[in-house]
Amino acid sequence: MISWLLPGLVVFLLLNLAAGLVRVARGPTPADRMSSALLFGSTTVAVLLILAEWMSEPAMRNVALLFVMLAAVISLAFFGMPRDIGAGDDEP
Amino acid sequence: MIPLLLFWLPLVTVLVSAVAGLAIFVAGERRQRLRTWLNLAAAVLKLMLIALIGLLVMAGHTPEFRISLLPELDLVLRADALSMLFATLSALLWLVTTIYAIAYLEHAPNRARFFGFFSLCVASTMGIAMAGNLVTFFIFYELLTLTTWPLVVHTGTAAAIASGRTYLRYTLTGSAVFLIGLVWLYGLAGGQDFIAGGTISELGLDQDWSLRIIFLLLVIGMGVKAALFPLHAWLPKAMVAPAPVSALLHAVAVVKAGAFGLVRVIEDVYGPALVSELGLGLPLAIAAAFTIIYGSALALFQTDIKKRLAFSTVSQVSYIILGVAIGGPVATIGGLVHLVHQGLMKITLFFCAGIFANFLGVKKISQLDGIGRRLPWTSACFTIGALGMIGLPPVAGFISKWYLGAGAVAAGQPWVIIVLVTSTLLNAAYFLPLLKRIWLHDPPRQWPAEVQVSRLETAAMVGSSITTALFSLAVGLLAGFPLSPLNWVTGIVTEYFP
């Protein structure tokens, strides 16, 4: 197995995340920001799982489990927000 | 029994009036009769206790109360001859003033507060009198400030509160300076008790300049209360207080406390020898002399009776300081005896001024015309006091001035004579016109604010004035009597100048 495969994947996914952050920053609607947070959740899960394999730290899988379990909490909290929550938002 | 008595007696004597004061507070405004009884009972009890202590002292005992506040810092109350002099004076005058004040304030509001603080004030004065070391003296000195302030601002008018503020500004600054000097001295010499002839002269300290600065700090601290120029400005302002307060402030408690403290510092802490060795006497004497002239001169320009009396106080208290500052047994006798004499005379004057103001609404000098015919007894007392102040024999004031002059010559400071003469002339210049108006001018058709006063009030107030006036005559006439202040003082001074 190629030794740098797993860390390479992690780097790749992290870069991916960084790109996704652009969407959080740009919005324009709160829903956009929230959806990129969603991306963040699912990608981080993958990162954690790969880290668990790479660092031989099985506890990371538990972390991933928590992430994926609790991702919905934030979505649900977001769902309760008033519609115009992001008013006055946007491009700097 | 006797040792126990000797230990507790000084404390009890101090506490009598304090307890009375607190009891008056607790009793409240309404219980007038109880208050009067408390006042009188405490004053009489205190006088008796003083008499008891006096007997013990004469029997050769030294009553002494002592507890430790800090390591090497004791609270000491002790009755020696000098403290008995001041204590007797205050106890006596307290009784008289109380009687006067009860009548004077017959219809005024807030009497519980007044008499409460009045009693506390006397307790502090008694503590000052009996203080056995400088720290104890300081403690009671501060308490005195605290307890007289409510009396100064008693009427609660804007003027009263302003003058209260001035009073605090001066006295608290003074005591802060005092405290620094005290700590310094304490650091150098430890907290020793007062000893005739001085405590630190024995130590042979090689700290001349420190001692001089400490002396300066202490003089400033005491000088504020003693109204030594230029620290006197609070005193005339404090005239807004009720007459009994002025009487107490000027004659007994505050200014005397300052002067008494200076006596203690010079005679019992530094000792006359060290004072003259350090060259401290002369500057102090000069300051005192300047204050005498300055106070008298300013008194000339006052149109308000109490103001004029106030500036007269500024000048008269400095006689005491002048006496001890010159040094030498004779001048010291003159100074110390003036402590008593000035008290008696000045309290008479203030009592009379209070009666003028209270009965007839007379507050200005110009309103005094012909008052001698309207209030002959009071006017007579006023005259005795005024003549004494001028220094006319046989009233008490003459004796003080005589001893001062003689002492100055004996100490080789003849310039003092000039000061005395000038001051006497000025005294005459500001008192004689008053007497002239009182006796020789025609009374006006209507007095500024005449009020109906009950006979009891008249008796109490005029009676008090007559009592003190008679005392000032008596101490002058009977100066040769064994128990007279003069003899007493002479006894004390012989200890200082063996």
Binding site: T29, S35, S42, L49, R61, A71, R83 | -
Partner: protein
Amino acid sequence: MSMGDTSLVEWIATSLLVLGALFYLAGTVGLLRFPDVHCRLHALTKADNLGLLLVCAGLGLLACDWQVAALLGTIWLLGLLAATVSAHLIARHACRDHSATSSRTGSA
């Protein structure tokens, strides 16, 4: 187990992992390129879940442990649930505000 065998499993796992990462990339690209919220949600839910599935499968193969594999499967299922629910909630939130947002989207 023989060497070749292992390497075969590893090769499969590696390709699964890489493929999964590519789907993640697709999700991100979609998130950035698609014109409005709903389209972006399409990209996220579907692509990312496929990505997660592939990654989980790859890692499961690598781990060679039934417990781990089961855990990974659970994680994937939960991810599925979270993704659909979140997508629905966000879409709904955006929908109810559709008139307001669409004009905004247009301007952005």
